[in-house]
């Protein structure tokens, strides 16, 4: 079990309130991702759940039990840190065994679990090495192994992939997602990378300045962002925002359209512009278009075979049914 509820939780460091009163429920078995720009309070929120930070006010409930004043060691949660935080003086085996030894499990039981964890994480050959002799990816696996063997009610991940290179990051992302499918244990994952959030989460919590902007499934956030911040944060490349008369025509202060919802056409289109930078990814090409009269730069995602170069005139048709409208406060107009 692992249902985590935050009730009117606040956190201040000195006179600075980093988390204003906040309510959030994470259901048992969910994969929740806290996402937001750096300094938005997502790591602080995770640390409040872990108990590594004290709440200034409010309650943290785990499976209905008030854990606000309970020490991290007694909350039954496991955490994987960005810097791995392995014990450098212990071998991989001892690192993984550590939480079990602290819990007083028998040697036999410990070994059984270590073997199982090492097997599933491809660490069997490295059990007698020290963390210093492992690569970044292997270290992160050890950290995950150490978290798994505790059978926690929930896993907490604090930007666990940030220190890995791009290729490894994609691999580990899949592994963690598969691990969640297999174990069905609650996971809370903090990242500033919206691609990680979109690909891994059942539930995304978008944060800005300690405030929850929106909570929803990845596709809900993609299709129905509730405000300009979420609209701009979720999706890559970023959504285009257009203000002024074009927006006023549609009865909004700002309209937003995603780069993939603008079609490049041969004949004269609704919008026209001049190609600035063209980024060829092979499968897709991202065009950054100037002189449209709409906004400074309009980003368009076109199929990879569209051949246009710097300075060419380009014609565009937006898919009007997929345009997002926002009022003057930046909130979505239904």
């Amino acid at each position: 079990m692992g249902r985590i509820v935050l009730e009117k939780v606040t956190k201040s460091f000195g006179d600075t309130q980093v988390i204003p009163p906040l309510d959030l429920t994470i259901e048992d078995g969910e994969f929740a991702v806290f996402v937001g720009p750096s300094g938005c309070g997502k790591s602080t929120l995770l640390r409040l759940i872990a108990g590594l930070e004290h709440t200034t006010s409010g309650k943290v409930l785990i499976d209905g039990e008030d854990m606000t004043e309970i020490s991290p060691s007694k909350r039954g949660l496991s955490m994987v840190f960005q810097t791995y935080a392995l014990y450098p003086h212990m071998t991989v085996r001892k690192n993984i065994a550590f939480p079990m030894r602290m819990a007083g499990l028998s040697e036999e039981e410990q070994n059984k679990k270590i073997e199982a964890a090492a097997e599933s994480l491809n660490l069997t050959d490295y059990l007698d090495r020290k963390p210093g002799q492992l690569s970044g990816g292997q270290r992160q696996r050890v950290a995950i192994g150490r978290a798994i063997v505790r059978d926690p009610s929930a896993f907490l991940f604090d930007e666990p992939l940030s220190n890995l290179d791009a290729a490894l990051r994609v691999g580990m992302r899949l592994e963690i997602t598969e691990m969640h499918e297999r174990m069905k244990t609650t996971m809370i994952y903090v990242t500033h990378d919206q691609v990680e959030a979109m690909t891994m989460a059942n539930k995304i919590v978008v944060l800005q300045a300690g405030v929850i902007e929106q909570v929803g499934t990845p596709l809900e956030l993609y299709h129905k962002p509730c405000n300009l911040f979420v609209a701009g944060f979720i999706g890559s490349p970023k959504m285009n925002f257009i203000m002024g008369t074009e927006a006023a025509h549609m009865g909004a202060a700002t309209i937003g359209i995603r780069p993939e919802h603008i079609d490049v056409v041969e004949e004269a289109g609704v919008w026209q512009g001049r190609v600035g930078v063209a980024e060829h990814l092979g499968s897709d090409t991202f065009f950054h278009i100037h002189d449209t009269g709409l906004t400074e730069t309009l980003t368009v995602r076109a199929p990879g075979d569209v051949q246009l170069k710097h300075g060419d005139i380009i014609s565009l048709n937006p898919r009007t049914e997929l345009i997002h409208k926002f009022d003057d406060k930046g909130l979505r107009i239904a």
């Binding site: 872990a50 590594l52 020490s71 060691s73 007694k74 949660l77 014990y87 602290m102 150490r146």
Partner: protein
């Protein structure tokens, strides 16, 4: 071609020469003391026997037979060892708390601790003497241990704090998540990780305790008197017996010099730790 700093041969040699000169300069008093300790008191003051004389063990034999050297040495060992152990026992938890759970006052507390070292010892000499005498602790091992521990505690805590600060906080937090209590964190994670730092702190504290003279001379007479007191006791009012004094001094600093020699590496690491990075 890349510009790389090159040290010329002449530069290297002159630097080495300078190092040797400084080294010998520092070593000379010790050499002089040891040399004198093998002369008779009469020879010691005669210029014609400056380097060439008939060596004698008389001073050393006299010291062990008449002055009870071993009792003083035993007291020095007892007080220094226990003062160091107690200083670590108080210092480790203290430095741990400040390094990993700092509050807004931590910096001030550290400065305050250091400021206690600025108080001239003479300013509290009378209160201390009266106090120890009135509670019957004058000239006891316990008193000497407590005083040695207290005067070295600031430096012990500062050193440990600097070492502990080098340990990533996440490792301690990982320990908390893995279910250890505070004592477990210190025992299982902190001490193994900071072992080198703790060892050099202990060594330095031990050396300071061993060499301490101000308090050990003034708060003891016979029972708890350390080697410092023995040296002080050989300062005869009618004139100095240089041979005897040198022998006593050499025997007092001998153990600590040998200890320091063997732990050189640890000590240098300890003193320069945190200087870079």
């Amino acid at each position: 071609m890349a510009i790389v700093a090159q040290s010329s041969k002449a530069g290297r040699i002159s630097r080495a020469t300078l190092a040797w000169i400084v080294g010998l300069l520092f070593f000379f008093p010790i050499f002089w003391m040891v040399l004198t300790s093998f002369k008779t008191d009469a020879d010691a003051v005669k210029p014609e026997f400056l380097f060439f004389f008939t060596p004698t063990l008389e001073n050393y034999l006299n010291m062990t037979e008449n002055y009870d050297y071993w009792r003083f040495a035993r007291n020095s060992v007892i007080t220094s060892v226990f003062a160091t152990i107690f200083a670590l026992a108080v210092g480790i938890p203290c430095a741990y708390a400040m390094a990993f759970n700092p509050s807004r006052a931590t910096k001030d507390v550290l400065m305050w601790m250091l400021s206690t070292k600025m108080l001239p010892a003479a300013a509290v000499l009378y209160p201390m003497t009266f106090l120890t005498k009135s509670v019957g602790l004058f000239d006891t091992h316990f008193m000497v241990i407590v005083v040695l521990m207290l005067i070295n505690l600031p430096i012990v805590i500062w050193m440990l704090f600097t070492y502990f600060k080098e340990i990533p906080k996440e490792i301690i937090e990982a320990g908390q998540m893995d279910g250890v209590n505070t004592w477990g964190e210190i025992r299982e994670i902190l001490i193994p990780l900071a072992w080198g730092g703790i060892a050099s702190t202990a060594l330095l504290c031990f050396i300071f305790c061993w060499n301490e003279a101000y308090w050990t001379v003034r708060l003891t007479t016979t029972d708890a008197a350390t080697l410092s007191k023995l040296i002080e006791g050989n300062r005869a009012p009618e004139g100095l017996f240089f041979g005897r004094l040198s022998a006593v001094s050499a025997a007092a600093v001998g153990p600590i010099v040998v200890l320091g020699w063997f732990c050189q590496k640890q000590l240098v690491q300890g003193l320069t730790f945190g200087a870079v990075k």
